[in-house]
């Protein structure tokens, strides 16, 4: 098998839920050895999140855990005990990267803060992910995906102007923090490789939202007016938005320019539109959008989603089909690229997962199933810390592992 890009990277993973696990999943899928430290007995609380395989709650059968922990090793270790902490410090001395998403300050209180661990391993990159960051007045605020989404300023923009703002589904905001963390961590790792000096990376989910490209916050500084919820179609950028058609919905985007309008007319096969003074300029098209809709909606309902996708893309009109998850799984593009990946797991059997997020020509991503709780405890302690069988038995009896 081909080499993997991160085959020489050891990651100590103290994360739970989704933000941290998604970060370390990315590292694991590209070859890093990720040692996930879980509390003995219960493990990562995300093991208790549904949906579950066959709707039966089981710590090895939750979709969230199965997906966000591919390719990791599970080590159970009680880091609230002296022995557990001492083992963790030894592991940290061998690691290139440590990722944690505990409440800010919690690991420091256990003597496992970045200052201490980096003192004994100066090349360590210690990455902290949290809703609001390691400093500042909101540092200790309680948060969920939705509440930090609201604070980060994107929620205000999402939804209809005359209705409630809407959150994004699932755990996708934690994932946004996770991918930011993975990127920042890799930058610091490269620097550590060259200089021998690690770093502490502090990723705040709120800042990943407020600072992100889609937030376009500078418009406020330039224009002094807050952007509003635009709703399902944008004024003046047209046709643009989600439209019903014969068998579902399509998202269509056109550019403001003359060329964009020509392409729309070609997609519709209505060359007369180009000579119609009602639609001669962007301003005229804005003014007469009702007249255009009277032409456009009947055309839409006479065409299927796929026809509109093909006709639009053939004329370089941006079109996407609004898919449900079953349709995503059937889409010919993802199938052609063998994107979805089947993995065997001892409890849930063979299931289909999203594949590696990008393709590397020399060092492809490779998914391996999520670990059972404590599956690698013995392996990690024996291989990395040279524990003997007697040591292990003693640790087990004391409830440390």
């Amino acid at each position: 098998m081909a080499d993997q890009a991160l085959a020489d990277v050891v990651v100590l993973d103290l994360t739970q839920q989704v933000s941290g696990p998604y970060c370390t999943k990315l590292l694991a899928d590209y070859g890093a050895e990720v040692i996930k430290v879980e509390p003995p007995g219960s493990g990562d609380p995300s093991r208790r999140l549904g949906p579950f395989y066959h709707d039966t709650p089981h710590p090895e059968g939750g979709a969230v855990f199965l997906h966000y922990n591919t390719g990791k090793k599970s080590l159970t270790l009680d880091i609230t005990t002296d022995t557990g902490r001492s083992l963790l410090r030894k592991l940290a001395q061998q690691a290139d990267i440590l990722v944690e998403n505990s409440p800010p300050g919690a690991l420091e209180r256990l003597g496992l803060g970045q200052g201490e661990l980096r003192a004994s391993n100066p090349r360590l990159v210690y990455t902290s992910i949290s809703p609001y960051g390691q400093t500042g007045p909101y540092r200790d605020y309680a948060a969920t995906d939705m509440t930090v989404f609201a604070m980060g300023g994107i929620m205000y923009r999402h939804g209809e102007p005359d209705r409630d703002p809407l959150r994004y589904p699932g755990h996708i905001i934690q994932c946004l923090a996770g991918v930011n963390a993975a990127a920042a961590t890799m930058c610091a790792l490269l620097s550590s490789r060259l200089t021998g000096q690690g770093a502490h990376i502090d990723i705040s989910t709120m800042e990943c939202l407020a600072g992100a490209v889609d937030r376009q916050l500078l418009r406020y500084a330039y224009g002094h007016e807050s952007a509003v919820r635009e709703g399902h179609r944008r004024e003046g950028w047209f046709p643009n938005g989600i439209y019903p058609c014969a068998d579902g919905f399509v998202h269509i985007g056109t550019l403001l320019s003359a060329r964009g309008w020509v392409r729309v007319a070609r997609m519709l096969d209505m060359p007369d539109l180009l000579t119609d003074p009602q639609f001669a300029t962007p301003a005229a098209r804005r003014e007469h959008h009702g007249e255009f809709d009277a032409i456009f909606y009947p055309w839409l309902v006479e065409h299927t989603r796929e026809e509109i996708f093909r006709l639009g893309q053939a004329q370089r009109v941006m079109v996407g089909m609004v898919y449900t998850m079953d349709e995503v799984l059937r889409d010919p593009q993802y199938r052609h690229r063998n994107y979805f990946t089947a993995l065997d797991h001892p409890v849930v059997g063979q299931q289909t997962y999203p594949g590696a997020p990008f393709r590397m020509s020399e060092t492809p991503g490779r998914l391996r199933p999520a670990p059972l709780l404590s599956e690698h405890t013995e392996q990690v302690l024996c291989e990395r810390l040279s524990c003997s069988r007697e040591d292990l038995a003693r640790l087990r009896a004391a409830g440390v592992v």
């Binding site: 969920t144 300023g153 919905f249 998850m325």
Partner: protein, 432 residues
């Protein structure tokens, strides 16, 4: 920070609109030297129209000025910490200079439609001949091969085709009443940084460059894994929940005093619910059998939300936020732009930095936000003006003398002002 992490790494940014340009901005934040490539023959989409009407939103105080393409928030807010150069890549001489830069660079990133860089003569076969150690990343909406090769998209079209759009809608409305908001660019810009730094780690070990094909759809889909598995494991098609949650209740957004003011509240378990009732001054609700258990609260969440909304409606969301957080209840005010700029936490952490832009003047910009050893990397360079760093790159880096440089200007291979017709040409090749 004595040394930024990517000091010594050079990146060529052949990108437009959001996902690609912001990826190279993030690399610039981390210390890479980024060369953002544009052309005087072709106006990039986020540079805007060349003669906008005064009063148009997006320019400082609505004033487009003499050079509106250098005063537009949509470009200036996305392209910090990079140098701007121009090259006409439709001519062989331009491609030659591009390849000279490739020889001196580590990473080339584009976000055009699949096949575009190959048509420019800048595919990986060409680039890797010029520099075997080069890392090239292309990130079209749906990847570089397959039946959708060459298809164009904004992030919102990618969102639609991974199921995000469907799942983020109102549960009681059809998808045509879902907003046209865009999520994938925020994800892909960071993921591209992760991908190229991963490749740099491999190159450090082996000396080998490589090619990275990043389908924006496939990248984003890795953040919807539980939905994919819900379908593949259980055969169930996930449906939008709006602001509700699979098991937490109450979990939603509630109106507050003022126009379009809101607070989100998420409650898990009996104890948190009792604390919420305490903050509301309604301890009776915690005892009320209608809401006594998690299941009861889940089943009666509409009823419960009406009661909570009656309470929130009378108060400022900032006041509620402080009260709820003091009681340890997960909650967040729904911030708009003005709220963010005034937010004491973001100010304390230094998200905004005052920056002087040669054409746009002085403003507070959202800046780098990956903190290293407690510090924010600097906002070293405002978004470049068109061709602003041509001298630094062509003379400083490539070593052209004054006469050679003048030759490039005379040939219009480079320049700092758009040529006639650039606007019309500008709309064709992009796959933002």
């Amino acid at each position: 920070m004595e040394r930024l992490p990517l000091t010594g790494v050079r990146v060529i940014s052949l990108t437009e609109v959001w996902a690609g340009p912001f990826a190279t901005t993030l690399l610039g934040d981390m210390g890479a030297e980024v060369l953002h490539v544009e052309a005087i023959q072709r106006v990039a989409q986020t540079r805007g129209t060349l003669r906008p009407t005064p009063g148009t939103v997006g320019y400082p105080d609505g004033d487009p000025g003499e050079r509106p393409w250098e005063r537009i928030a949509g470009f200036n807010g996305v392209n910090r910490n990079k140098m701007g150069i121009t090259i006409d890549l439709t001519r062989a001489a331009g491609t030659d200079y591009f390849l000279k830069l490739v020889q001196l660079s580590d990473i080339v990133i584009d976000n055009y439609a699949a096949g575009t860089v190959e048509r420019m003569g800048l595919g990986y076969d060409v680039l890797s001949r010029a520099n075997p150690q080069i890392i090239q990343l292309s990130t079209p909406g749906w990847g570089v091969d397959g039946p959708y090769r060459g298809y164009i998209s904004f992030g919102s079209h990618v969102d639609a085709m991974v199921g995000h759009t469907y799942l983020r809608g109102y549960p009681d409305a059809d998808p045509s009443l879902t907003s046209s908001i865009v999520h994938s660019d925020a994800v892909i810009s960071s993921m591209a940084v992760f991908a190229v730094t991963t490749a740099l780690n491999y190159r450090l070990r082996t000396g080998k460059g490589q090619y990275i094909d990043m389908s924006q759809a496939e990248g984003l889909m890795t953040q919807l894994g539980e939905y994919v598995l819900e379908y593949t494991m259980n055969g169930r098609v996930p449906q939008p929940l709006g602001n509700h949650h699979p098991h937490m209740a109450p979990h939603g957004v509630f109106p507050c005093r003022g126009n379009d003011r809101w607070i989100t509240i998420a409650v898990e378990g009996d104890q948190q619910f009792a604390r919420l009732c305490g903050v509301m001054g309604r301890p009776d609700l915690a005892e009320d059998e209608r809401f006594a258990t998690a299941l009861a609260r889940y089943q009666r969440q509409d009823e419960m939300e009406t009661i909570i909304a009656a309470w929130t409606r009378e108060q400022e969301n900032a006041t509620l936020l402080a009260q709820l957080q003091a009681a340890g209840i997960a909650s967040g005010a729904v911030h708009n732009d003005e709220d963010l700029y005034r937010d004491p936490h973001l100010q304390a952490r230094g998200l905004f930095q005052e920056v002087v832009h040669r054409q746009a003047g002085t403003h507070l910009y959202p800046g780098p936000y990956w903190r290293i050893d407690g510090e924010i990397p600097g906002f070293r360079l405002p978004a470049p003006c068109l061709g602003e760093h041509n001298v630094a790159v062509y003379q400083g880096l490539l070593g052209l003398d004054d006469a050679q440089y003048q030759g490039l200007l005379d040939d219009r291979l480079i320049g700092d002002t758009y040529l006639e017709g650039a606007e019309l040409a500008g709309r064709d090749a992009a796959n933002p």
